[in-house]
């Protein structure tokens, strides 16, 4: 607060101000009760019941969770989502941070490049999913054409390599989603770029006097200084990738069934959606939602713990 810390007003004035505070935040309080904490408790309750619309709610204890442990699609969806997260989060950090470091080298037309790289983040959702399933179309897609033109059996460098079936292949489905996700690297890049520009130049000058080379400067000055932004992006990226839905729905729907081929793209929330809104098994879907809640909470706490010693917070 600085030197001019204000004395908390006493008596009538303080009570008036406190009352005004609660009036101003009252919409949030109502919304929190009706649309957040109420539904959170309700879904916890639902996860111990069997409930389909039109039928009464039936208390079944831990039955839904027991079914869950034997549900092969549930395990598959966890595996698919974890695989996607493990691939996409580190790759996304490396790519967007690398790009930000490059852009930070006095590159000309900086704002132009920033705009171009940010562009894909603007057009999220259905059009992007449709576009990428077209680009990665095994037969008519432009990427497989370029691959066969360059390294195909009769390509420029005839290595006999043929493009995979991408979204339609069990093996390549997740890497395809990762590739599509990397296209949106502009958003984390902007945050990294801003935090790179916030590193005081005096620190670099000191490092140069100490005889540090470019890598040492990056490793011992840049990385510690931007580590809070990296941790934030890591956690947000992880949470986001555990909740992928739209792209997986749109693309696998084109392959005729949700999560196709053979559940290889059955992302966790996609499975939850299909249980809730295709089969109307609300109790089971609520149990799925709560498992997701615990997974995300555990991963967040874990990454905060692990990073505790490694993240540097300037001034506290």
């Amino acid at each position: 607060m600085g030197v001019l810390t204000r004395v908390i007003p006493q008596g009538k004035q303080a009570r008036r101000e406190a009352l005004a505070f609660y009036v101003f935040i009252s919409p949030w309080i109502i919304g929190f009760i009706v649309f957040t904490i109420g539904p959170v408790l309700a879904s916890l309750f639902l996860s111990f019941t069997r409930y389909n619309p039109g039928n009464p709610v039936e208390w079944v204890g831990l039955m839904q969770y027991q079914i869950l442990t034997k549900d092969r699609v549930f395990w598959k969806s966890l595996q698919v989502t974890a695989y996607y997260t493990v691939l996409s989060v580190p790759l996304g950090i490396i790519a967007s941070l690398g790009l930000a470091v490059l852009l930070n080298q006095d590159v000309p037309f900086l704002s132009g490049f920033r705009t171009i790289y940010y562009l894909p983040s603007i057009i999220s959702g259905v059009p992007v999913a449709l576009l990428w399933s077209w680009i990665l179309n095994p037969r008519f897609g432009i990427l497989n054409y370029v691959i066969s033109f360059l390294v195909g059996p009769s390509g420029l460098i005839p290595l006999g390599i043929q493009g995979p079936n991408w979204f339609l292949s069990e093996q390549w489905a997740i890497p395809s989603y990762v590739l599509m996700g990397l296209w949106g690297l502009g958003e984390p890049m902007i945050i990294y770029l801003a935090s790179l520009q916030g590193v005081p130049t005096a620190l670099y000058d000191a490092a140069i006097i100490d005889g540090a080379n470019a890598w040492q400067k990056f490793r011992h000055v840049t990385l510690p200084m931007i580590s809070p932004a990296m941790l934030f992006m890591f956690i947000m990226g992880m949470i986001g990738s555990f909740q992928i839905f739209t792209a997986a729905y749109v693309i696998s729907q084109q392959g005729q069934s949700l999560g196709s081929p053979n559940y290889a793209s059955m992302f966790y929330v996609l499975y939850l959606f299909s249980q809730a809104f295709r089969r109307y098994r609300f109790g089971y879907a609520a149990a799925l939602a709560w498992i997701l809640f615990w997974i995300i909470l555990a991963l967040t706490i874990l990454s905060l713990r692990v990073s505790e010693e490694r993240v540097y917070y300037a001034g506290g």
Binding site: W28, I123, L130, A229, F245, F273
Partner: protein
């Protein structure tokens, strides 16, 4: 320095012109500004090539959208269509009732953005300016809701709206907006705290109540932050898919993203040239808004990203 000495020795030993040139080159390579220049050129080349890769999918979308049905799947592909089929756009947009989807999306995004601005700036004013016991704890609670995965509230909220007979209307998508959202409250509060408190106090001396301080002082001063919130909210709504998918099931209520997903040509096949034309029309407003307002937009991302 070393280069200078080398040059000296070299000059005494063999003062030929070529040798001097060579030494001069070595000197320049060793110099800091030259190294800096090389890094800069290399970085520019990599970033430039990367930007072509990034732009390519959008260019390909445009290219496909201007081809004939058979041209779109022709191998080897035509990079730039020789006979651009501009009528594809009209065909694609009339094949489905896109004008209805557009009207619905504009309604949903327009009302939503207004509600977002009003509710979040109102709530954020309380958190930023007014002192009350428990304020900071409540604010932590606001932040904590950001970490909550949406599937946890999805099903009970759906049941609530179905009991209210709000399904197949925009109410489930709009009504919750009037109660604020953590992300926007956080962003606006950060901004409000940067506005000098003397402004409020001067207004209070002039006899303004809290409400008119918010309405007359804070709101006009926070236009950049409000713009950032409005743009991001607009884009989010324009692209939102899960909400409309769950709550809207009649064609007359579809939004653009829902209509686009349902875009199926008769007999099961998908007409790529039409699909890409419709996709491009869908993303165009976002691109235009982005170019017109990118200053605010990037600012908003940075405010929340850095201070999170």
């Amino acid at each position: 320095m070393q280069g200078g000495k080398v040059a000296e020795i070299a000059e005494r030993a063999r003062p030929t012109r070529e040798f001097r040139l060579l030494v001069g080159l070595r000197e320049r390579i060793a110099s800091k500004s030259f190294q800096h220049g090389v890094v800069r050129v290399l970085a520019t080349i990599i970033v430039g090539l990367g930007s072509i890769v990034i732009l390519f999918p959008v260019a390909w979308m445009l290219s496909t959208s201007l081809k004939t049905k058979f041209g779109a799947v022709q191998m080897p592909p035509q990079w730039i269509p020789t006979h651009p089929q501009w009528h594809n756009y009209l065909d694609a947009l009339t094949f489905n009732p896109f004008h209805i989807y557009l009207r619905n999306t504009l309604y949903y995004a327009g009302v939503g953005v207004l509600a977002t601005l009003l509710s979040n700036s109102f709530i954020a004013y309380g958190f930023a300016r007014l002192r009350a016991p428990g304020r900071d704890k409540i604010f932590l609670l606001v932040l904590a809701t950001m970490m909550l995965p949406y599937p946890v509230t999805l099903i009970p909220t759906y049941i609530l709206f179905s009991k209210l007979h709000w399904l197949n209307s925009f109410k489930p998508l709009l009504v919750p907006t009037f109660f604020g959202s953590a992300y926007n409250i956080f962003l606006l509060r950060q901004f409000y705290r940067g506005i000098h408190k003397e402004m409020d106090e001067a207004a209070r001396i002039d006899g303004c109540g809290y409400f008119s301080i918010w309405w007359r002082i804070i709101l006009p001063l926070s236009k950049p932050a409000l713009a950032a919130v409005a743009i991001m909210d607009f884009m989010w709504r324009w692209n939102n898919f899960l909400g409309p998918l769950i709550y809207l099931d009649q064609r007359e209520k579809y939004t653009l993203s829902l209509g686009l997903q349902m875009f199926r040509a008769p007999f099961g096949g998908t007409y790529m040239h039409w699909l890409m034309a419709a996709s491009l029309v869908t993303v165009l407003p976002c691109i235009i808004v982005f170019f017109a307002t990118q200053r605010y937009f990037i600012q908003g991302i940075v405010i929340t990203g850095l201070k999170g």
